[in-house]
Symmetry: C2
Subunit: 184 residues, 2 copies
DNA sequence: ACACAATTTGAGTATACACTCCAAGTTGGA
DNA sequence: TCCAACTTGGAGTGTATACTCAAATTGTGT
């Protein structure tokens, strides 16, 4: 019944292989074969531990996002600035992962199940945190206004990040900070 | 030397098949087989007229974007509001095409050639037009400030559009107008 | 050392895709 | 009417993909 150590290690190797492949070459480089080769595992083992390739990718991306969370305990003490800086940091430290994040949301199965739903949930949580931070910074803001404003700021950050994926010379941090200043 | 009528008609049929497939089911539905079936053509004919599948898709998307251009002659008379409304209209009238547009930019070959470059060029042209319109609306704005502001507004529109692809219930026009009001 | 569950293997399945080639057919100008 | 340029049919190529399964092996508690 209990999991064996060896299985847990294999799982970790697969996650690490997936992470490094995504970071190096994005979705295109992250084939099942590549994952298995790098993790020194046959495909059967992979499917013993993961439901699908997408399953592994989603876990990696989520871990990656959480790694730059300014307030992992959700104590509700982060400021808008903290959140914006965390966002900038994510794109700065894990550019390929950021592209994967956006790509997965767009190309996930057209049915609303799966990746898309997950990303939406994550987005909504972020909007909530931005809105809360905005209200803490400006107590005259109504909850409704804070939400609209949070959607706008996050939208702008997403859009500027997309812009950056088109052209790596684009100064994302500068524009992101301008957005934060202008919108919140 | 001159092109034969029958070839021109075949080309038109292929374009139309590609357009309708993209509009109905996005990139996933737009396989070569699907295009050829719908256009009543074999793949040999397709490759007689187009270099690649991507070639056909790019032509379709470009035509689709130009169809909602508020100032096709580039007379330089459009206002920021015109441009924002044109953007909203594009997403309202051709939602799937909009998704294709973003997807193509992200998933195009990782080398900077090809689709990505094209999209960047198109984006830069739009930024310029937004910046010009902003300067016409506020003559105290320096060209540099206008450009940064234009990048922000376009980024916000792109991001909100992306947000909408995650969840069709999101009120894109409302948020887009809020962005325009807040940023320009 | 035994039983039994957890894990691994690796060949195999099924499928999908963009693209090629060239013989045969058609068009339209001279 | 001729014929070269153009267009078409459609089988075929090559490659890649995610995923399955039954049997073999290994780990763990007793």
């Amino acid at each position: 019944m209990a999991r064996y150590q060896v299985g847990i290690q294999t799982e970790a190797r697969i996650i690490e292989a997936t992470r490094s492949l995504l970071a190096e070459g994005g979705m295109e480089a992250c084939t099942l074969k590549a994952i298995c080769d790098r993790a020194k595992v046959r495909s059967g083992s992979f499917y013993n531990l993961f439901d699908s390739k997408e399953d592994a990718i989603i876990r990696v991306v989520r871990e990656s996002i959480e790694a730059v969370d300014p307030d992992p305990d959700h104590a509700g003490t982060d400021t808008v600035d903290d959140l914006v800086h965390a966002y900038i940091r994510f794109f700065h430290e894990e550019p390929t992962m950021a592209r994967v994040y956006v790509t997965a949301a767009l190309t996930g199965e057209s049915s609303a199940t799966g990746a898309r739903r997950r990303f939406l949930r994550h987005h909504l949580r972020r909007v909530e945190r931005f809105a809360d931070a905005m209200q803490r910074g400006d107590t005259t803001l109504t909850p409704e206004d804070a939400e609209v404003q949070a959607e706008l700021l996050l939208g702008a950050l997403d859009g500027l990040a997309f812009r950056w994926t088109l052209d790596q010379d684009f100064d994302f941090p500068k524009h992101a900070l301008f957005a934060a200043e202008r919108i919140s």
